[in-house]
């Protein structure tokens, strides 16, 4: 048994691949007992004490605090018996992470462990006179990637940026499969004045080249000529078909991409609540009696959502990767159905605008959305979205978040319901709301707080018009 032992990043649970040293509880030279806490280590789930499993002296602290290390990486060296500086140095240098550990698989570890001992931490790995291009050196240092074993592809073996880039990435699975045929299949078509690929496609799509007139130089049949011919099925076949084929429009492609991304990568959760809108209805009725034209229920809901976003700012966000962008004002998007598809123009700073103005802005945006005349800045961004299918009689529904927005509110149809009110039963005008939240950034309690703030604003609508 060597007199030196490695203290490595522990593996707490099968999901742990790396950890951060929150705090060292020992320094070099400290005498430690079995079971003594050496360091506090944080993972992405927990923070826990790292205890020493044997008695000895801390010979060297290799890893820096507040730095992430893969499981198995060398953190410190413990001496069972007194050891010289050279012995410790040799031990650190020759340390290899256990096979199968994250550190053994991570290309950066060799450099990380070797350099951690020496200040400054990352530059020491690449000697000054190494045959490496400056951008490649920068990249290697940034990645903490040791280039010692790398054979450069540049002039006289110089290591290039691409060499570092490629070596630092995991290898692709080696190609291996069943034998395939690479025989030329188009030999019989050699008589045609057609490109090699045109011939190949002609075989694939069973296109008769003698029927085709080439559009290439000197009447050469091109790939495009064959594909065009292949794409037009004979008329008889078309009429017997029971459906028609329509390609996605660019807008449909954007909708498909955005929502697929949203529904497949964002962990949605849904909170549903029924709210009473009697007070809101009464408010509108009063405006009408005074000879005015009241804003629509939806206009009030946008205003209410905007104020609720200010009340519960944790929902007034965009989510970008591992960042939450918080906004001072509420830019509320409104879902508008058009012939070409869904679009969500935005009422900027809806928290600062009176309901009537919100209403007229929405009508203007919706009109121009249907005419396809929205500018990009009018539908890009926003932190929240309101979508309303109540006018179609839909009772309630759950909506898909429109990233990077943090949440979306789905509004159902106005319903008259029996409710218990001060001991008696009465009819009430109600709406069903469903809030979809991005759980990566918004927790259930926050979403619930938002929804109840929204209910308060709707049920006591004085704030909406003040």
């Amino acid at each position: 048994m060597s007199k030196l032992r490695a203290l490595t990043m522990p593996k707490w649970g099968i999901e742990m691949v790396e950890g951060t040293i929150a705090e060292w509880k020992v320094t070099a030279g400290d005498r430690i007992k079995k079971g003594q806490v050496i360091a506090l280590i944080e993972t992405d789930k927990i923070a826990n004490d790292l205890e020493c499993e044997f008695e000895g002296t801390v010979a060297r602290v290799v890893a820096d605090a507040a730095t992430v290390y893969p499981v198995g990486a060398l953190l410190a060296v413990l001496a069972m018996e007194p050891a010289t500086a050279t012995e410790i140095e040799d031990f650190v240098r020759s340390f290899r992470a256990a096979a199968g550990s994250a550190a053994a698989e991570s290309p950066g570890t060799a450099a990380a462990t070797a350099t951690a001992a020496a200040p400054p931490p990352t530059t020491a790995a690449i000697p000054k006179n190494a045959n490496i291009s400056p951008p490649a050196r920068l990249l290697a240092e940034k990645l903490g990637f040791g280039v010692g074993q790398l054979r450069g592809s540049g002039r006289r073996g110089r290591i290039t940026l691409q060499d570092v880039d490629q070596a630092s990435k995991p290898a692709a699975a080696p190609a291996a499969g069943k034998p395939v045929s690479v025989a030329v299949t188009t030999a019989a078509l050699d008589v045609f004045h057609a490109s090699a690929y045109a011939k190949r496609l002609a075989l694939k799509h069973a296109v008769d080249l003698s029927r085709l007139k080439g559009t290439g130089p000197r009447g050469r049949i091109s790939r495009a000529d064959v594909l065009k011919s292949a794409a037009t099925p004979p008329a008889a076949a078309a009429s017997s078909q029971s459906f028609t084929i329509e390609k996605f429009t660019p807008m449909r492609k954007v909708i498909a991409r955005q929502l697929t991304l949203s529904k497949s990568t964002i962990p949605h959760f849904y909170l549903r609540m029924r709210v009473r809108v009697d007070a809101l209805m009464a408010l509108r009725e009063r405006i009408r009696k005074d000879g005015g034209k009241p804003p629509s229920v939806n206009d009030y809901l946008i205003r209410a959502a905007a104020l609720a976003l200010i009340d519960v700012p944790q929902v007034n966000i965009q989510v970008h990767g591992e960042e939450i962008h918080r906004y001072k004002h509420a830019d509320v998007a409104v879902a508008v159905a058009t012939d070409r598809g869904l679009i969500t123009p935005i009422v900027r700073c809806a928290d600062t605008k009176p309901v009537a103005q919100i209403g007229s802005e929405i009508r203007d945006l919706a009109e121009r959305a249907r005419a396809g005349k929205l500018k990009v800045e009018e539908y890009a961004g926003g932190s929240f979205c309101v979508t309303n299918l109540g006018m179609f009689g839909v009772d309630e529904f759950d909506a898909i978040i429109n990233p990077p927005q943090g949440a979306i509110l789905a509004v159902g149809a106005l319903q008259r319901r029996f409710v218990e009110d001060a001991g008696s039963v009465t009819f009430a005008n109600t709406l069903k709301l469903s809030l979809s939240c991005d759980h990566r950034a918004i927790d259930g309690a926050v979403g619930a707080r938002f929804l109840s703030a929204l209910r308060d604003l709707i049920e006591k609508p004085l704030r909406l018009i003040s």
């Binding site: 691409q162 880039d165 490629q166 990435k169 995991p170 290898a171 692709a172 080696p174 190609a175 291996a176 499969g177 069943k178 034998p179 395939v180 045929s181 690479v182 025989a183 030329v184 299949t185 188009t186 004045h193 490109s195 090699a196 690929y197 045109a198 011939k199 190949r200 290439g216 130089p217 000197r218 050469r220 091109s222 790939r223």
Partner: protein
């Protein structure tokens, strides 16, 4: 169809064409072969044995032995063509193209243009080129890249006996100067050759293997190396297009681009050194016209930027080969994203 060697296909095509068209003359160093030796005319039939039987059949007025002067050969052929003849000029070694470069690139290639289209210059310059025969630095070069860069010259490189016939016939019957490159190591290969009239239009590459994973674009003797690489890769489930360019000017861009659009991986194999070469030209073409299709950096498998070595082992190491092409395909497919 008849099976013959590439050298026989060239010889027979010249015979056929000279018989068909009395206006054709052929000239070059020692093409009669044996003139002035004990064996007499036709004892050899040219040092590559390509012009045998011509002198006996067509006589000294149409089959002309020239002094050892490339300027003279190409200059005389260009002059004869201007005066109404149809000429075939033979350069025994492509390496000496420098001697007659003025006649080639500043005269022949420019006549039609300089005379406002009122004249033509139907000359086929047959040029023997390439390494692999232990002929040292001054008799082994692949200079087609240099000539491909000159507007006004067509550059042709047959790799099979059938292609030799089809392309040479097109070259001779055409009205423009053609550089017809014949690789030394390909003279001896055999293959079926179509009977009767057989013309192959220029600018039509030949697909010699079909696949979906990578595109190998090459010409000349490396076509066989590329095929060998493709066959080896096919055993591992990797299928490659192998494109024999046939002519580098005009270039069948469409064939190359179509193939790369399909595979996303381009490997160019070129016997000439890499700088300003056919390989870099095709790499540039694909990078500019099929950039979005590329899934990995373009691999260029070329000779190094050095003269062709004499020592057999070094020459072998100098020349790109099947193993190098296969490795390049695997490298391209293993590119890490």
């Amino acid at each position: 169809m008849a099976k013959m060697m590439l050298r026989e296909a060239i010889n027979k095509t010249i015979h056929d064409e000279m018989e068909r068209d009395k206006n054709i003359v052929i000239m070059g160093e020692d093409i009669v072969g044996g003139m002035g030796t004990a064996g007499g005319p036709e004892a050899i039939g040219g040092i590559w044995g390509l012009t045998g039987g011509l002198y006996a059949k067509f006589g000294a007025n149409r089959v002309i032995d020239t002094p050892i002067s490339e300027s003279c050969i190409v200059g005389a052929a260009a002059g004869a063509a201007l005066a109404g003849k149809r000429a075939i000029a033979e350069l025994m070694f492509a390496d000496f193209v420098g001697v007659c470069l003025d006649q080639l690139y500043n005269q022949m290639a420019k006549f039609r243009y300089m005379f406002g289209g009122k004249t033509k210059c139907p000359v086929t310059v047959r040029i023997t080129y390439g390494a692999g025969m232990n002929a040292a630095a001054q008799h082994s070069q692949a200079v087609y890249s240099m000539l491909t860069s000159i507007p006004g010259l067509k550059v042709v490189m047959p790799t099979t006996p059938a292609d030799a016939k089809g392309l040479l016939t097109t070259a001779i019957r055409g009205d423009d100067p053609v550089m017809f490159f014949e690789h030394k190591t390909l003279y001896g290969i055999s293959g079926e050759v179509p009977d009767g009239e057989y013309l192959l239009p220029f600018g039509n590459a030949r697909m010699t293997r079909e696949g979906n994973h990578a595109s190998i674009v090459t010409c000349g003797q490396l076509v066989r190396a590329a095929e060998k690489a493709a066959d080896a890769l096919a055993k591992d489930g990797i299928s490659c297009d192998v494109i024999d360019l046939r002519t580098t000017s005009p270039l069948d861009e469409e064939c190359i681009l179509d193939s790369v659009e399909n595979t996303g991986h381009l490997i160019v194999a070129d016997e000439s050194p890499p700088r300003c070469s056919l390989a870099s030209d095709i790499a540039g073409l694909v990078a500019s016209k099929a950039f979005a299709a590329l899934k990995a950096p373009i691999e260029m498998v070329t000779a190094p930027h050095t003269p062709v070595p004499f020592a057999r082992e070094l020459e072998k190491a100098y020349l790109p080969n099947a193993a190098g092409i296969e490795a390049a395909v695997r490298r391209s497919l293993a590119y890490r994203h």
